[in-house]
Amino acid sequence: MSIPARTLMVAATLLLAVMAAWPTWAGSTLERVRRTGVMTDVLLDSYPPFGFIDANNELDGFDVDVARAVAARLGVKLKLTTPAWEAIVSGHWQGRWDICICSMSPTRERAQVLDFPAIYYNSPAVLTVHRDERNIKSAADLSGKRVGVGIGSSYEKYLHQELVIPGAPPLTFPFHDVIVIPGDESINFRNLALGPGVRLDAIVSDLATAHTVSLSNPALRILSSVLYSEPNAIATEKGDPEWDHDVARIIEALKQDGTLVRISRKWFGADITTDGH
């Protein structure tokens, strides 16, 4: 073996050793939050009115206010970060983030990679159609139609008849062979506004989202019947029951002292944080 080859082998071995010895920051979330005095919260940057960038270029919304209240209760600073949704829901955060107050529905699949210590609001899933739509009056009319949903959302699972909400009675799916079109939610709404069936026939989404969009877009119409009511949970990394317990305790306290209701009234003019509909 010539000298450069040996040098390369040594270098490769060293590289492997460094990679193996790379410190892992995974471990107790609670311990980390206490040590650093900072709670790192992940949320969505373009999901108004839950999480969005406001006119002053600051993150704002219902989820941001809830996060602020949780951090205040813990007595720590709040750090907000906005990675892609796929990065959040795939779990295995490895200590990168401490908590997700990001409007996540606790589905069975997600529960395999994330913990859901507390439900903090309920959102009705609704159907939105174009103003001139004549044929779609309820979920039963969705068979064979092109229906837009947020990619990776629970609405996508619902249309595939796979949605199971833990702790709730099984859902009914009064449709078959829906052509599910997953994509960016706000682009879906734009496509639907082009006309009934031009690119989409309908959209399944959260009522608050549909309501916000339809305010600025008169071509859209929300059907009044609610498809199902969906709990939205706070998500944490798996494996820290103490942290989960603390989060659950804080959310309960924020419900008791009226903080959550106040935040809900501020953003929706109604209370979406009380269980049941």
Partner: protein, 271 residues
């Protein structure tokens, strides 16, 4: 020695240059007219422009917008250059291990999509214990991906130098480093700079992939504002124009470098 004159516009007359400017101006006016037809909300545009350009800091105190895009691209460019040099050396090495590592790396990173590489570095590495921040993941992915392409560009530039150049330098008993840096490198750079410039312009736009990691660069802000307020055309066009302006800056730098390294050829050709 017969080395053809490089075809740079400066070599042309004033009439040619005037024609180029006039055509550019006409095309720009046509484009602006088409844009005007879209009925853009210029009030909204001017409200968001300082953020898109990165004239203000993000809420977390970090740079954002075009400033972050330039930052990510510049650092990745420097790292990619280092990676590419080492890979090109390995690619031209007679050592089988060095050659194999260089070709394996170049093949892997040229043969898989950049988006997949970004996601693997950001999402899969933590599972084996390497937890990188969003910024470093993005820089590593861009550097490794473009390093692989740039290595081939560098290699082709070096290979294109006639063997006689090295042989003549050796016959003059010049030291090895003089042969490498004073004989080979300037000639190779002349050939490497145009395709390398094209790579960096495309890296500038690919840097938008780091938005996945929650970095508030130009594309991230434009899309986020667009989705939140439904000013799609305003934000997309603004982002496109800023990217375009930045790549024109890149091209100007490339043009100057090209001219710098073509000087030797002009002298050699004029003999």
């Amino acid at each position: 020695m017969a080395i053809e004159q490089p075809a740079l516009p400066t070599a042309m007359g004033a009439g040619f240059r005037r024609g180029v400017w006039l055509t550019w101006a006409t095309l720009l006016i046509l484009l602006a007219a088409a844009g005007y037809e879209l009925n853009l909300d210029f009030g909204y545009l001017s409200q968001k422009l300082p953020f898109l350009l990165g004239l203000k800091l993000a809420p977390d105190g970090f740079i954002q917008g075009a400033a972050l895009t330039i930052f990510v691209t510049s650092i990745s460019m420097i790292c990619a250059l280092g990676v590419a040099l080492i890979t090109a050396l390995g690619r031209m090495s007679r050592n089988p291990v060095a050659f194999a590592i260089a070709t394996f790396y170049a093949s892997l990173f040229r043969g898989t999509p950049l988006l997949v590489q970004v996601l693997i570095i950001y999402l899969a590495l933590p599972q084996i214990g390497v937890v990188l921040g969003g910024l470093s993941s993005g820089l590593i992915a861009l550097s490794l991906n473009y390093g692989a392409y740039l290595a081939e560009t560098i290699r082709s530039g070096v290979m294109a130098i006639p063997a006689g150049q090295r042989e003549a330098a050796m016959a003059l008993a010049l030291p090895r480093w003089v042969i490498t840096w004073k004989v080979m490198a300037p000639q190779a750079l002349r050939l490497i700079i145009p395709p390398a410039g094209a790579l960096f312009v495309s890296m500038l736009k690919d840097s938008s992939l780091v938005s996945i990691m929650g970095l508030w660069e130009l594309n991230f802000l434009a899309q986020s504002y667009a989705r939140t307020t439904y000013h799609y055309m305003e934000m997309l066009i603004a982002a496109a124009l800023i990217y375009w302006a930045l790549s024109i800056l890149f091209e100007l730098v490339q043009f100057r470098l090209e001219r710098r390294f073509a000087r030797g050829v002009a002298v050699a050709g004029g003999r």
